[in-house]
């Protein structure tokens, strides 16, 4: 199957959304882009100064590479994506409400009960706990890939603590500074209001008693966390306190923040700490990152956690194949966004198929993330395939397999000039007590190595500004 390039399609003709960009690139004098790239490096060091905070020498901290050529989506393309994303996140929240409530979808046999109830991400303590608005995954990052002009697939749902939105915002900021002329020639939908949307979403989920003027905080594991920059950035942009577990205390059935002038009640916690570390009394006793007694206050509905506890059961790779079923079951609609066809190795028939076709498939660990523990069949050696087959046979339930998709490409500035590179897209969906909010676009990740399909930043991926054109 030919690779679909988002600028040139499969036939080499520039697609309409890219017309302006193609002209602009063609008119670019030799070396001009290179100069802009150097300028961008300097800019990133300055506006993203906190990137370098971790490094002693200022340069040692890796800045995720930023590519200058934007990725463009037409208004109609985005409209479909947005509708599909909203639908999917509604279904994921309905699923979470159900599995921690009446478990109707399990009783109806539409999702295997053991897959949910015996899932390590399932939190039995959450049984009967309904957060405000019935919202569990408040901030969801849905990873999307594209294979041709029409088809977008959901590759993965991130319903716990998805990160990367700060790159989306910084990439846009950098592009507007570097190429103001490009923005004058295009009607690019803005994304800079994301922090406001996030704050409104969080406020809309405050406990009823505090709905008037809730105090929102962002809870971080601390300065040594790899996403700390993003925590600082979002707290600053929203104008809320960035707190650590030691700054919060539970007293009189509420959560309080220790301030210099006394204690202040906290109503909504945007937490960037995993479930297991939130409360040493309820979860891991050795955690020093969390707040003792937090879960009791949460269960009593006196503080809101975003995201809720136990959302991992909805984005687990073993549960992923059933998300389209969730859409049908809860919303009575056909899914707008399709899943990538997936074989579950826990089913004997599908396991046999996977083992027979290992060389053509991508095989993933059910609980793995970040591109680790993954086999890409077509680029593996015979020894690697044999070794991986043994691992799958030893523990089939731990693996799923998908066809090797020919991901779309977008022109990218590399050593040798402009060349196509594979991309994916992570839009951020905000589910509030009042409505679902989306800023147009998301974070585009690009695999900078020629032919590579792995876009994770830990594996040599970069980012691009993502444009949604307005009509």
């Amino acid at each position: 199957m030919p690779i679909f390039d988002e600028m040139y399609g499969t036939d080499g003709a520039v697609r309409p959304a890219y017309a302006g960009l193609a002209d602009w690139l063609a008119a670019m004098p030799d070396g001009a882009l290179e100069r802009k790239r150097r300028e961008a490096d300097i800019l990133f060091r300055r506006i993203g100064i906190t990137f370098a905070v971790y490094g002693e020498g200022g340069d040692t901290e890796r800045v995720i590479p930023f590519d200058l050529v934007p990725r463009v989506l037409a208004a109609t393309e985005w409209a479909t994506l947005a509708a599909g994303l909203e639908q999917r996140v509604k279904a994921l929240n309905a699923f979470l409400r159900d599995v921690y409530g009446g478990q109707e979808i399990l009783r109806a046999g539409r999702v295997p009960a053991d897959l949910v109830l015996r899932n390590p991400q399932y939190q039995p303590m959450m049984s009967g706990v309904v957060p405000p608005g019935g919202v569990y995954t408040t901030i969801a990052g849905i990873d999307i890939v594209r294979v041709d002009a029409e088809r977008f697939y959901v590759l993965e749902d991130n319903a716990r603590t998805p990160s990367g939105v700060s790159y989306m915002l910084e990439d846009r900021e950098a592009m507007m500074r570097l190429f103001p002329d490009l923005f004058a020639r295009h009607r690019v939908a803005p994304v800079g209001h994301y922090p406001d949307e996030l704050l409104q979403t969080l406020r809309s989920l405050a406990p009823e008693a505090a709905r008037e003027d809730p105090t929102v905080v962002l809870l971080t594991p601390g300065a040594y966390n790899s996403a700390y920059f993003e925590h600082v950035f979002l707290a600053e942009q929203m104008g809320v306190e960035l707190v650590e577990g030691q700054d919060l205390v539970v007293r009189d059935d509420h959560v309080w923040m220790r301030e210099a002038g006394g204690a202040r009640r906290v109503d909504v916690i945007y937490r960037r700490i995993d479930d297991a570390f939130l409360d040493p009394l309820a979860f891991r006793a050795d955690s020093t990152l969390g707040v003792a007694g937090l879960f009791e206050v949460y269960r009593a509905g006196r503080v809101t956690l975003a995201n809720a506890i136990g959302t991992g059961v909805a984005d687990d790779k073993a549960v992923y194949p059933f998300v389209p079923e969730m859409v049908r079951f809860y919303l009575g609609e056909e899914p707008i966004l399709a899943n990538v066809p997936t074989w579950s190795c826990r089913l004997p028939g599908e396991l046999a198929y996977v083992l027979d076709h290992l060389g053509e498939l991508v095989v993933k660990e059910v609980h793995g993330s970040g591109g680790y523990g993954m086999l890409i069949g077509p680029s593996a050696t015979r020894e690697e395939l044999a070794a991986f087959a043994e691992r799958v046979k030893a523990d089939p339930g731990n693996y799923i397999a998908q066809p090797t998709l020919s991901l779309s490409t977008v022109p990218t500035l590399v050593e040798a000039g402009i060349a196509p590179r594979h991309v994916d897209l992570r839009p951020f969906v905000l589910a509030g007590g009042d409505k679902i909010r989306l800023v147009p676009g998301g974070l585009t990740r690009v695999a900078l190595r020629d032919g590579s399909l792995v876009v994770n930043s830990s594996q040599g991926g970069g980012t691009k500004d993502t444009w949604v054109l307005e009509d």
Binding site: V53, E56, V232, Q246, V249, W256, R258, A260, G261
Partner: protein, 315 residues
């Protein structure tokens, strides 16, 4: 503002001020060590530095002879000594890093750049650069930090805690530095009021940036009583005890108004301030200068604990 943030900001300023004052103290010790002395001059000249810095016991535990190299290395460069200039600059930067959101970019960059430069110093580099040049550099970085925070920070809670830390620390170090003379012995009792005595007092004054001011104020010879009066009781001397307490109480009163509560630390500070404001040098000398300074340092430490209890460890 978070109590932890108040604590961090307060300590950033204390550490920067402490680094500066350690540099001042080493500078005066170095100047005094160049004066002619009696037997075992190394020990006589460098032991007071350790005592005044409150590092004599830690130095003894570490072992080694008391001489210029060992003492300067220990008080300026030793990462294992939490009071060394090296450690203070590192701690200031670590506290700042944990509280990036409360600082302006300029303040953060000042602290970060200072640490990045400071941690390149070892004994060899210190000798290449020269002691005096190094002490001056440390002082300049502290001046820069003070100026940048003054020039860029919004006049609200974070700024108040930065000021508070700076002045509490400065009061401590002025009192300690003034006490150096008590510990530095003269070769013989006949030397009291002699040339060495004079040079020691003038080195002390210079290290507190008070030499020119003394000349302008008194237009007369150096006497211990006047030096002490100037550095304890003159409100127009920025490093005097009364001046630092003026600033401390002003800041604490502003915090009291802001938070609308009474604090024990404010009461303590006001009590100490009125003693300084209405104190007389003859009474201090009648009590004994060394005894007075020792008691002051103790009260100031108590005030520091009280500030921590009131603002940084609530509930």
């Amino acid at each position: 503002m978070l109590a932890r943030a108040a604590d961090n900001l307060y300590w950033i300023a204390r550490y920067m001020e402490r680094a500066e004052n350690m540099a001042r103290m080493l500078d005066v010790s170095w100047r005094m060590s160049l004066l002619p002395m009696g037997d075992d001059p190394q020990r006589l000249q460098w032991e007071p530095a350790l005592i005044v810095a409150g590092c004599d016991e830690r130095f003894a535990a570490r072992g080694g002879a008391i001489n210029a190299r060992n003492v300067i290395e220990f008080l300026a460069l030793d990462p294992a000594n939490p009071s060394s200039i090296h450690s203070c600059l590192r701690s200031a930067r670590e506290n700042a890093r944990a509280m990036r959101t409360q600082l302006t970019t300029e303040v953060w960059e000042t602290l970060n750049a200072t640490w990045l430069e400071a941690h390149r110093y070892d004994w060899e580099r210190l000798n290449q650069v020269g002691f005096r040049a190094y002490f001056d550099w440390v002082k300049e970085r502290s001046h820069l930090f003070r100026g940048v925070s003054f020039g860029t920070m919004q006049r609200d809670t974070p700024f108040r805690f930065v000021r508070l830390g700076g002045f509490i620390e400065r009061a401590d170090s002025t009192a300690r530095l003034l006490d150096v003379k008590y510990h530095v012995l003269l070769p013989t009792p006949q030397d009291i009021g002699g040339a060495v005595d004079y040079y020691q007092w003038s080195a002390l004054l210079r290290s507190l940036s008070g030499f020119q001011a003394y000349r302008r104020i008194y237009r007369d010879v150096l006497t211990p009583r006047r030096v002490a009066e100037m550095l304890i009781l003159r409100p127009d001397m920025p490093r005097s005890l009364v001046a630092t307490f003026g600033e401390t109480t002003e800041t604490l009163v502003a915090l009291r108004e802001q938070f609308g509560r009474d604090y024990e630390c404010t009461r303590l500070a006001l009590a100490m301030y009125s003693k300084l404001r209405y104190g007389r040098i003859q009474d201090i000398f009648a009590f004994g200068l060394h005894e007075y300074l020792t008691a002051f340092v103790d009260s100031n430490v108590e005030l520091g604990h009280s500030i921590a209890r009131d603002f940084m460890l609530p509930g």
